[in-house]
């Protein structure tokens, strides 16, 4: 009996024994596809029986019921951001999540945004 056993699915992965690149099946091509603050939200739940979806994919789909950034997903699942990008790319391609990229630098000039952010900060 291991008293430290927890049925928490998101912890099923024994991080020290499974290297991150194994989870991503050695793929790194999605590294540049999503920013750390790209937001993902689930638009189609998984049934848990889909072929090719690993527990980590399922965990992301559950986590992103509310919009969640790549950085947050990585922190919550204790995976490197690069691996999360690869997994998120799979889910995006298969239509499980929608991804919103951050505002490009040019669009950060939007005057209304500055006002909204200032008002929001003052109201904190």
């Amino acid at each position: 009996m291991n008293s430290e056993w927890s049925p928490d699915e998101e912890r099923l992965l024994d991080a020290p024994t499974i290297r991150p690149y194994v989870i991503a099946r050695g793929r790194t091509e999605a590294q540049d596809r999503f920013d750390l603050i790209s937001l993902a939200v689930t638009i189609r739940p998984t049934t848990g029986t889909e072929i090719g979806l690993d527990p980590e994919h399922q965990a992301i789909v559950r986590l992103c019921r509310r919009p969640m950034s790549v950085a947050e997903i990585a922190a919550h699942l204790d995976l490197p951001a690069g691996i999360v990008r690869v997994l998120l790319g799979d889910l995006f391609d298969r239509g499980f999540v929608a991804v919103q990229q951050p505002q490009p630098e040019m669009d950060v000039l939007d005057e209304r945004m500055y006002k909204a952010v200032l008002d929001g900060l003052r109201a904190l």
Binding site: R33, D35, L36, I37, S38, L39, V41, I43, P67, S69, A71, E72, A74, A75, H76, P80, A81, G82, F92, A98, V99, Q100, Q101, P102, Q103, P104, E105, V108, L109, E111, M113, Y114, A116, V117, L118, D119, G120, L121, R122, L124
Partner: protein
């Protein structure tokens, strides 16, 4: 490459702010003080760029470097969400800032008057990159109290860079620093300078 799906729920727009400064200056403390969530940590793997920075002799197989960053979040209604990233403290990781600074609205450079030189690389970097920034002097107990004008002189800051005292542990104080930063960034945006 936005989703463009009509069935996608309305998503907030993400905005990035950076909290920079030397090691142990209180970056994560400030992130935690203003964040609506407990600060989280994410690991970013960087490739190639570390060559020539890290000494890789004898470990040629290692072509990636992993850096840890603490970050927090502030939701602005349901339309915007601010992410505050504490930049990695070690100077040799300056290159990660390029990835971090891309698209950032602005940066707070935290300074400690006992080790003012620690924030030089950050000031230098944001000046060169043209990222709007403010300098916040974290008031550590027992630290010598300097006139802000003196600190500004010591940092060789240009006149328009705001500088203020702060207490990184206090939410109200962190909030004021962020407001100052957003106001400054607003004034610095290219559209405003004609």
């Amino acid at each position: 490459m936005a989703s463009g799906r009509s069935d996608a729920p309305k998503m907030p727009k993400a905005i990035k702010l950076l909290i920079a400064g030397g090691f142990g200056v209180g970056k994560t403390t400030m992130v935690g003080a203003v964040s609506e969530i407990r600060p989280l940590r994410t690991e970013e793997t960087l490739t190639n760029l570390s060559v020539g920075v890290d000494d890789l002799s004898g470990v040629e197989a290692k072509s990636t470097t992993t850096v840890a960053m603490d970050f927090g979040r502030i939701s602005i209604g349901d339309e915007f969400v601010l992410y505050l990233f504490g930049t990695p403290g070690q100077e040799r990781f300056w290159f990660v800032w390029d990835e971090l600074a891309r698209g950032a609205l602005g940066a707070v450079v935290l300074a400690d008057t006992r080790r003012l030189a620690d924030c030089f690389p950050s000031v230098d970097y944001f000046e060169r990159r043209g990222t709007p920034f403010v300098v916040a002097v974290n008031c550590f107990e027992g630290a010598p109290v300097f006139d802000l004008a003196e600190v500004k002189l010591a940092l060789n800051l240009s006149q328009d860079v705001p500088i203020m005292l702060c207490d990184a542990r206090k939410r109200e104080s962190g909030k004021e620093v962020l407001i100052e930063l957003v106001k400054h960034a607003y004034g610095k945006r290219p559209a405003a300078t004609h």
